[in-house]
């Protein structure tokens, strides 16, 4: 098991490095110009000076090495220092966003909590809803519960979040006036009132995401359960006189969870990448929102950094999924 984990880990580091180089070069070649969103009253000569001040003059490889050094050494130290208050932040240069001219790391640290709360809760609720639905749908295949579940998950899966989001806003904010349509990012939870307000503003984006995630995962759960329910070992278990509950909840469920756990683990990075569209509709200032705005503004340092963090997360959770798979299913440990 250990060698298996180590071998996977050894693959991960070069993968991440190659991803970072590819991302950097791709963005460098991408058309688009950070001064393009400025008003046309600013003349071209001035734009050229702004571009020079942003450091666009240097050769690409030098910029890459500088960026990588800042990315893997300076920024993490600053982030840790910011989070813990330890005095370990180095003095060297930091990755500066072209839009704000401030360190990218600070902005990311500011944004992560909102994304984790909103998108993370959407994911957690999605899983909590999906698992029972998947189990019951499979156990009572073609029952009315299964039919309704299938219909709802098909709708949830096929209707995009930018549509459900706007529908929710229209119904619950504009007509009923229950929840705010905009996420107040300055709200800090200090007492019961502010907690209630926090809950009421988080309800709609979480519901939209939970619906979407639940639809996906419940289908996986159902399919996996169906595969196992017809297996010989299930019949054996029943023949041994085990209670139906034990057969389904212990034997079948456990085996059915193997692929589902993988799907859930691999899906976790998308929690960090944020649901870009949902964040924009509800004006949640998360990472996804930061990324899409940086892309619009051709703010490459920001895009590179966020994409790189995503790459690390994706590689990391793939690793976790691999290891979990090894734990759940001893057959695939190669040792």
């Amino acid at each position: 098991m250990l060698t298996y984990t180590l071998r996977r880990l050894a693959f991960a580091v070069p993968t991440v490095l190659i991803i970072s180089l590819v991302v950097f070069l791709m963005l460098d070649m991408a058309p688009g110009d950070p001064t393009s969103s400025l008003p046309l009253t600013i003349p071209m000569e001035i734009r050229e000076e702004i571009r020079a001040a942003l450091g666009l003059g240097e050769p690409v490889l030098i910029r890459y090495v500088k960026w990588l050094q800042m990315m893997v050494i300076n920024e993490p130290l600053h982030m840790i220092a910011g989070a813990t208050g330890w005095d370990i932040a180095p003095d060297g240069p930091r990755i500066l966003s072209w839009q704000t001219r401030s360190p990218v790391g600070d902005i990311i640290v500011q944004r992560i909590p909102q994304t984790l709360w909103v998108v993370g809760l959407g994911y957690v609720f999605g899983i909590l809803i999906a698992l029972p639905i998947g189990v019951i749908s499979a156990y009572r295949q073609y029952s009315w519960f299964d039919q309704v579940g299938t219909f709802v998950s098909m709708v949830g899966f096929s209707v995009p979040t930018f549509f459900t989001g706007v529908v929710f806003i229209l119904i619950f904010s504009v007509w009923l006036g229950w929840f705010p349509s905009m996420y107040d990012t300055t709200l800090s939870v200090t007492d019961w009132d502010s907690f209630v307000r926090q809950v009421s503003q988080i309800v709609m984006p979480v519901a939209v995401l939970a619906l979407y995630n639940a639809s996906q995962i419940s289908r996986f759960m159902r399919a996996s359960m169906l595969d196992n329910l017809n297996q010989d070992y299930v019949r054996t278990a029943r023949a041994k006189g085990m209670r139906e509950q034990t057969v389904v909840m212990v034997h079948v469920l456990r085996n059915s969870m193997i692929p589902v756990v993988t799907v859930i683990a691999i899906g976790i990075p998308t929690v960090f990448t944020g649901a870009i569209i949902t964040e924009q509709i509800f004006r949640v200032n998360g990472l996804g929102d930061a990324l899409i705005r940086a892309i619009y503004a051709s703010d490459w340092p920001m895009v590179q950094t966020i994409t790189f963090i995503f790459a690390i997360l994706i590689v990391f959770f793939n690793l976790i999924a691999d290891v979990l798979y090894g734990i759940l299913d001893p057959r695939i440990r190669y040792d």
Binding site: S36, P39, T41, E49, M182, N285
Partner: protein, 571 residues
């Protein structure tokens, strides 16, 4: 009908002015909290480092210039005692210098005195060669800025300057504090995050907290020079979301009091307004959507350093009859109605504002005249081919029509393509992502400046109320070309000696009435030459809640120019 609604919008905005008269009794901070939504969030509070309108607007309630423009485009002394003129001796007889005097007793929000040294420092900060200051062109043509005494600043120009009201005037040229920014000059400017995020100013508000690209929180400046202002105690300047969401928050849910830049489809605006909680504010400035006509040959067969330069005149579009036909075929009323509704009006002039400078001589373009257009092309020798497209000497009348990717612009392209087909002109449509099209990368073949197409559509404007620099752009020799790294704003490569001579006269003329005349003449030369085709004058569009008073939409300066006077209307 449309024009009437537009006028009503303008009248509604003006009708708010009398409300200010009763404002005297209000107390500082008595209106509580204000919620502003900018769907493009504010990135920094240092407008010099950003150049974006959103940052300029947000910074304008903290940092102030010596003078600014009111909603009618008139200069108002702001930090200055009065506007220097030739009459009061503030502007030198030879137009070589201008002398400003600061108001007495001005203090920064931290309580220290504002001095002439701060003004001089602002000049040094923005003109530093490594700073990348976005408003450096405000200080072009200046020989020196010096502090005569603690309250007097003299700006000396390199040449006689009939319009000396560019440096330190308007929201794009505010004064920053020397003590705060002293160590942030040049290349070090971006490192000063704390300073850039919370500049100390003289305005009615101070920055309490800025989360970049998300939200700015303002508190009132206790040291503000007007004793009973500002009326709002705090402001939350939220950012993010999209224009529709921002409009919804003002008109329908009432969560926000003021929303900026609502460029939405006319039917969406109408639907939102039905929410009844807010009111749309529209006013018209110099922003105008136009089609530029290339006077040079953009043919891909030419080598890169000759393509689109004056070495090769355009084979089709150098004939004025073709250009006029293209213009006559367009129905500007319909374009405006479809694309902008109450937030636009058809345009026939190069200079569409301020009202006194607008030529009355070109309104015949408002009527679409397909017959006339056809006649012009017939006369120019273009014969209809078998497919309806005109041909002359074996060449088809085919034009490459490019613009940026944007729903309204693509609608416009499709409509214009159809009208041009009616007169036998084939338009090939192309749209380019705005970040490329409006980019300044000289190696990109797709920028609007390089203009490797026959015609292109975009909107442009000028700063302040003086169109002289805008008119200057169309002089001979100002065209983008390889020798200038494709920089220059003579986009259509126009070249006309009469125009150049008249512009030179305008640039020397201090007398306002004569200047107005010259601007109109220059406009007429340009437009009657069909050098470009004006389409729609686009308004500045914002929305305010019904409970918000004191807002006076201003197209000549920051929309928040009179932020100190905004108040809550009590029911």
């Amino acid at each position: 009908m449309k024009r009437r609604t537009a006028l009503m919008g303008a009248v509604a905005a003006l009708a708010l002015v009398p409300a200010l008269a009763t404002a005297q009794e209000r107390e500082r901070g008595s209106s509580g909290h204000l919620n502003v939504i900018y769907w493009q969030a504010v990135s920094t509070m240092n407008p010099f480092l950003s150049g974006g309108t959103k940052e300029m607007n947000a910074a304008s309630i903290v940092l102030e210039p010596l003078a600014r423009f009111d909603n009618e485009g008139q200069l108002v002394a702001w930090l200055a005692e009065e506007i220097p003129t030739l009459d009061n001796g503030g502007v030198a007889e030879d137009l070589m210098s201008i002398t400003w005097r600061l108001k007495e007793g001005l203090v920064w929000s931290d309580g220290t005195d504002v001095t002439a040294g701060d003004v001089v420092f602002t000049y040094e900060y923005c003109t530093h060669p490594e700073g990348g200051c976005a408003y450096r062109d405000r200080f072009a043509g200046i020989e020196s800025v010096e502090a005569v005494d603690d309250h007097t600043i003299r700006i000396t120009f390199e040449d006689a300057t009939p319009n000396p009201y560019l440096p330190f005037v308007g929201a794009g040229s505010p004064i920053i504090q020397r003590a705060q920014f002293e160590n942030c000059m040049g290349a070090r400017a971006p490192e000063c995050t704390d300073q850039n995020f919370a500049p100390i100013g003289t305005g009615p508000y101070k920055v309490a907290n800025l989360r970049p690209n998300d939200v700015v929180e303002f508190v009132m400046n206790e040291n503000y020079r007007v004793a009973n202002q500002p009326y709002f105690e705090t402001i939350t300047w939220a950012g993010g979301g999209d224009a529709t969401g921002a409009a919804r928050a003002v008109f329908q849910t009432g969560e926000m009091d003021y929303a900026w830049n609502l460029q939405l489809a006319p039917e969406v605006i109408a639907q939102m307004e039905a929410g009844g909680r807010g009111e749309l504010l529209v006013d018209f400035g110099p922003l105008m959507e136009r089609i530029e006509i290339n006077f040079t040959d953009p043919s891909p067969d030419l080598p890169d350093d000759e393509r689109g330069t004056r070495m090769h005149p355009h084979p089709i579009l150098t004939d004025i009859r073709v250009r006029e036909a293209l213009s006559r075929a367009i129905d500007r009323e319909l374009l405006t109605e479809i694309g902008y509704g109450p937030t636009g009006r058809p345009a026939c002039n190069f200079i569409v504002a301020p009202p006194a400078m607008v030529s009355p001589n070109n309104d015949d373009c408002l009527v679409q005249d397909i017959d006339r257009a056809n006649a012009l092309l017939d006369e120019a020798g273009w014969e209809r081919g078998s497919d309806g497209i005109r041909v002359k000497d074996g060449e088809r009348l085919e034009l490459l029509f490019q613009t940026s990717t944007n729903a309204v612009r693509q609608d416009f392209q499709a409509l214009i393509q159809q009208w041009w087909r009616e007169i036998g002109v084939e338009a090939q449509l192309r749209n380019i992502d705005a970040s490329v099209f409006f980019g300044s990368d000289p190696s990109s073949p797709d920028t609007y400046v390089k203009f490797w197409a026959d015609v292109e559509m975009y909107a442009s404007l000028f700063e302040g109320t003086d169109p002289t620099p805008h008119l200057e752009q169309r002089r001979c020799g100002r065209e983008p070309r390889p020798e200038t790294q494709w920089q220059g704003q003579n986009i259509n490569r126009y070249c006309n000696e009469e125009y150049d001579a008249l512009w030179a006269e305008l640039n020397r003329e201090p007398e306002p009435a004569r200047r107005q005349e010259l601007v109109i003449q220059l406009n007429d030369i340009f437009v009657q030459d069909y050098a470009h085709l004006p389409l729609v004058a686009r308004g500045r569009v914002s929305a305010k809640a019904n409970t918000l008073g004191g807002v006076v939409l201003n197209v000549w300066d920051s929309e928040h120019w009179n932020q100190a006077e905004w108040y809550r209307i009590e029911e």
